[in-house]
Amino acid sequence: MLTFIVRRLAYSIPVIIIASALVFGFTRATTDPLARLAQSRDAAELLPRERHRLGLDKPLVTQYTRWAKDFVRGDWGQSFISRRDVKSEIRDKLGNTVQLIFWGILFSASIAIAVGVYSAARQYSALDYTFTGLSFLGLSMPVFWFALMAIQFLIYEPTVLFHLKQPIFLSVGLHSANDHSLVDYLRHLTLPVLTLSVQLVAGWSRYQRSSMLDVMSSDYIRTAKAKGVTRRKVLLKHGLRNALIPLTTVMAIDIGALFGGLIITEHIFAWPGMGRLFFDALLSGDTNMVLPWLMVTAVFIIGFNLLADVLYGVLDPRIRLS
């Protein structure tokens, strides 16, 4: 197992290096961190001075290798744009994204498993068809549209309809101006979590359903039923436990990708997380911020992919990692 993990980690190093070099090259080729300074009346003097100060007048390869050396030494540098410390900026934003992911995963997994199990147990029932339809709707719905509709129909309309002084849910950031209570936090958290969960629930519930159907047609389930084990026990103890194995690995991979992939949700709900940080940094050509972001995200993706492989071996002893 240890050899497998070490080998997987070793394989990921060239992947990260290539990815960072490509992102560096593409970002430099398409954006200019000094473009915003062109509005200065003093641009003729300011631009060459800043280009020199930031080292942008050096060849691309020099810029990249200098960044890589500093990064490996633990010096993540300052943002080109805001001059903030990149490490603390990413740490803060990662903390906010983790909150969203934690609650989103908890909510999505609970609903998806419940829906998947029910749909498999009551295959071709009216509710199964309903869940199937809703899943396809969830998968095909653009996130930004769902988010705006959620604000309209879960915040605005109920506020008008019930003449509320304030909406039940809130859509701006993590907390209100004068209220940092848990209730206020939950009011802010609900819609981003719901938005994040729509596609996860839709995908995972389909996965859970098919996995459950596979398991329920297995010989050992038939044997358990023949031995007179109760339907509930067959379903939950023998069926669900085994059907969760493939879903667990899918979830691990999806969770890894979520660390960098919540751009739209964070943008619409003014949630100061990793996705928004990346979006702003990329648009402004702030490679000093984009590259460490990429490293952190890559570590999570690689880590969770590795976790998925390891979990598969642990949960299913028939699979040996070699």
Partner: protein, 560 residues
């Protein structure tokens, strides 16, 4: 079973607490009445939550990491003392920092004497003195990371021998002196910053103030909160707190306003905003800002090397129709601008120079024939068998600009020009295509930093990008003494009447030589909830609409 009941009970409690929170009261205030300068009855207390569609990068206003208008709107204008204010009708007047109008001596050398208001103090009670002016000048002139040294680099000395009198002496005449020790910069406190790393002290926000507000906290990516400066010598804020929430998505910002999470916002003009105008208790105020959009001709590229062709394009354009399509629903009656300036700049705007450029296809024919072109069987102009092909570039993804391009394509086709689009990212357009002269026709905006009319940096021949001066801003590459002479003089002339004449002369030269065609002024849109918010709310094109927020108040002391 018990566990399930407990879970259900918890869920119910959570739901009830959310509903209770929704019905509850947010914020407070002691409800004490006072009187504002407007004569209406103001109420103390309350927290005002506002939407901010951009987050500033840093709060060291003179540094190259600053330069964003939203930095001034949210923090700079509220905390930095400045020599001059801008009135709602865009006139420059001495601020409360000064004891009166500064004394201008034309010289040579040009000298300005500022008298500082004896009551003016920093938030720690220390007086604001001439040494603060001198420190500010020194930081800007000698700093290595300064956003814009214009004007400050022309200062020879700042005399601070009298703490309440500042005497500024210039090396060369500088007509835009009203922008100094103010504008987006303000005056820096020497006693708090001298000997320290100024940028490190200020870039993430600072705890001192020389304005009506102080920065309480700036949580990056979320909000900046202001609280009253207890030692402000002018009108102290009525509100307990003002919080700017950073909502960078306009649709989300509109929804936040609709759902009552923000009481006011200051969005970029777009047609979708009209949906909000009819909401109950919603007031919207639209005015013409200082910013404008124009077509910029690269006069080094054929066929735009010929002034006749440029003029023919101007006569092929129905600018009012374009402006109406873009902004008519937001600002009814809006018209195309007739100079590289907008009517928002009341003191300097002149409405005549570009007035002649109205759609006139007969004029197009005359000018194109004079340039040696003939119309082919396809109705398109060509010269020596070579068609007058045109390509326009703008920032990809900007819907308004793409709509402008479509309207131009249709109008110019009717006049015999085939216009194609070649859009790119903002960074490429402004970082490469502009300076390197890659574009043929470009469509982009100018955002003047103040009402000062000088635009030599955009049009004078010395600012054409060259190998020696790669960052020159005259991307039209038109070198014309007729343009250079008045605009260079505008930057030096201290007599305002003569300066106005020079501006008119300069705009006329631009209209004749036509390095570009001004099109639309940007509407300045304010949307707020009048049931929650009161006071003299209006536009300020330099410092933003929140500049006099110290005079605003919440209905009943509660803006929640």
């Amino acid at each position: 079973m018990r566990r399930r009941r407990s879970a259900a009970l918890l869920t119910l409690l959570a739901a009830l607490s959310l509903v209770a929170a929704a019905c509850g009261n947010n914020g407070g205030g002691d409800g004490k009445a006072t009187t504002t300068t407007e004569g209406a009855k103001a109420v103390k207390g309350g927290t005002l939550v506002l939407g901010a569609e951009q987050e500033p990068d840093c709060a060291d206003w003179i540094s190259s990491c600053a330069g964003a208008s939203w930095g001034t709107y949210t923090m700079g204008a509220q905390t930095m003392p400045r020599a001059f204010d801008l009135t709602p009708d865009a006139k420059t007047v001495p601020s409360s920092l000064l004891a009166g109008e500064p004394k201008l001596e034309s010289g040579p050398p040009q000298k300005i004497t500022y008298k500082i208001n004896p009551k003016a103090v920093w938030s720690d009670g220390q007086p604001i003195t001439s040494s603060d002016f001198k420190y500010t000048w020194d930081q800007i002139k000698n700093g290595s990371d300064i956003y814009d040294k214009t004007g400050y680099k022309d200062i020879a000395s700042v005399d601070d021998s009298d703490p309440k009198t500042v005497v500024v002496t210039f090396t060369t005449p500088y007509a835009g002196w009203h922008d100094l020790f103010g504008g987006f910069y303000g005056v820096y406190p020497k006693h708090l910053l001298e000997g320290k790393d100024r940028n490190a002290e200020m870039k993430d926000g600072y705890k001192w103030s020389g304005g009506p507000w102080m920065i309480d906290h700036w949580t990056k990516g979320q909000e900046v909160a202001l609280i009253p400066n207890p030692n402000y010598w002018g009108s102290k804020p009525n509100l307990d707190k003002a919080v700017f929430k950073f909502i960078t998505d306009t649709a989300a910002e509109s929804q936040a306003y609709k759902t009552g999470q923000i009481a006011m916002f200051y969005p970029q003009a777009q047609l979708e905003l009209t949906q909000l105008f009819t909401l109950p208790n919603t007031k919207h105020d639209v005015n013409t800002s200082l910013s404008y959009e124009a077509l910029w001709f690269n006069t080094a590229k054929d066929p735009l090397t010929d002034a006749n062709v440029r003029q023919a394009l101007a006569y092929a354009t129905d600018r009012d129709a374009i402006v109406n399509s873009l902004f008519g629903p937001v600002q009814p009656g809006i018209k195309a601008i007739n100079g590289f300036m907008t009517p928002g700049n009341k003191q300097w705007y002149t409405s005549e120079p570009f007035k002649k450029y109205k759609k006139d296809l007969t004029k197009v024919d005359e000018l194109m024939k004079a340039a040696g072109y003939t119309k082919g069987a396809d109705g398109m102009w060509a010269k020596g068998g070579k068609p007058a092909t045109l390509a326009i570039s703008t920032t990809a993804g900007n819907k308004r600009r793409e709509l402008t391009e479509q309207l131009l394509q249709s109008q110019w086709k009717e006049a015999g020009f085939n216009l194609t689009t070649n859009n790119t990212k903002a960074g490429t357009l402004f970082g490469e295509w502009g300076p390197q002269g890659v574009f043929q026709i470009a469509l982009y905006a100018q955002v003047p930093p103040s009402t000062d009319p000088g635009i030599c940096s955009t049009f004078c021949s010395e600012n054409i990008p060259t190998t020696a001066n790669p960052s020159g801003q005259n991307w039209t590459r038109l070198a014309s003494p007729a343009i250079d002479t008045p605009w260079k003089q505008v930057d030096k002339e201290l007599d305002e009447t003569k300066r106005k004449d020079l501006v008119e002369q300069g705009q006329k030269s631009l209209a004749d030589a036509l390095p570009g065609l001004p099109i639309d002024p940007f509407p300045d849109v304010l949307i707020y909830n009048s049931a929650k918010l009161n006071g003299p709310i209006g536009h300020n094109f330099a410092f933003g609409p929140f500049v006099n927020m110290n005079l605003w108040w919440c209905t009943g002391g509660n803006c929640g």
